[in-house]
Amino acid sequence: MSCLNPGSVHDATAFACSRFGAWAFSASDELAVRLISEGYCFVGDEAYVASELVAVPWPGRTMDDPWKDGNNFYQSSARIHIEQAFCQLVWRMGIFWRPLKVPVHKRPVVAQTAFKLHNFCRRHDVEGLGHLSDSSDSAVDPRSLIGCCDGVDVATSPRRSRQRSNLRERMTSVVEKQGRRRPPVHTYSN
């Protein structure tokens, strides 16, 4: 986690300023190269810039393309975890219910402490997640997401429609290969 930036800073800028963000975008060390070669990634919302380690949804209206739409839907499902984690954090830490009043230089420390306490509570008060950690029946081998990175440059333009991401295209192809679309919305009629 990183809380180095004031509130007016855009999420993408704040993320790029964080140690993890800088590492993810440079992707220059051995570990980053290994993660990319094994097909792993981290998911963020459309505020962030796509890269080979950061998966963001396709921009704009994607209802015309069911596979792009499916990719966006399943990425959104993964992002629910961070939204729920924030909700649990704020619900648990009442110090966030009101504006922080401690001196400015201590506010990042207070925030960091709250995040650590949240993790501690999760580890010690939650049981029964062990059965979810079995990876034996994974439907897709991560290595199947490996693609050739040559020929597609990740644009640095802030315009989302111009951003190219091999990762996003590979993930969309996985959705298409498995035929996974956004589940239909059922309406009830009398």
Binding site: Y40, A85, F115, N119, S138
Partner: protein
């Protein structure tokens, strides 16, 4: 927080809390209550200590949490077992076609009071688009809702 969880936290933080003054249990109790939104008026009365001693205990607690290496927020990317387990958990929790996701990240605006001109160079920088003074915090979590 359950009693065993509290005792575990006290045991974790005890080596990092200062000797003397109030007990480790009181210090952790006060710290937890402050982070849970408790007022110093109630807590100093409950624990029978003055305002300055109360705040000293809370900062001792905060320092201890940040000093305890077992409570560090870590991202063990180099661990292949962790990678496989985390990716599988993301996939199974949401019945997702992807089993290559190691974390989801986002930002949260933590509300704060307006900083004074003596504390920051530009107060307006701390005013966010949501119409409040805030601290932009970026965080990433695993599928079990732990921040990494």
């Amino acid at each position: 927080m359950s009693e065993p969880c509290f005792e575990s936290l006290v045991d974790t933080l005890r080596p990092f809390l200062p000797k003397g003054g109030c007990s480790a249990e009181s210090c952790v109790s006060m710290g937890l209550r402050v982070f849970a939104g408790g007022s110093y008026l109630d807590l100093s009365a409950i624990h029978g200590i003055g305002r300055s001693a109360f705040y000293n205990s809370v900062w001792d607690f905060t320092d201890a949490v940040n000093a305890a290496s077992s409570m560090d927020i870590c991202l063990p990317l180099a661990d292949p077992v962790w990678r496989a387990r985390t990716a599988a958990l993301f996939q199974r929790r949401q019945d997702s076609p992807f089993n290559n996701i190691l974390g989801a990240f986002d930002g949260i605006a933590i509300k704060q009071t307006a900083p004074s001109c003596s504390e920051v160079t530009c107060v307006a920088d701390h005013y966010c688009r949501k119409g409040l003074f805030a601290l932009n915090t970026q965080a990433m979590c695993e599928a079990n809702f732990e921040f990494t």
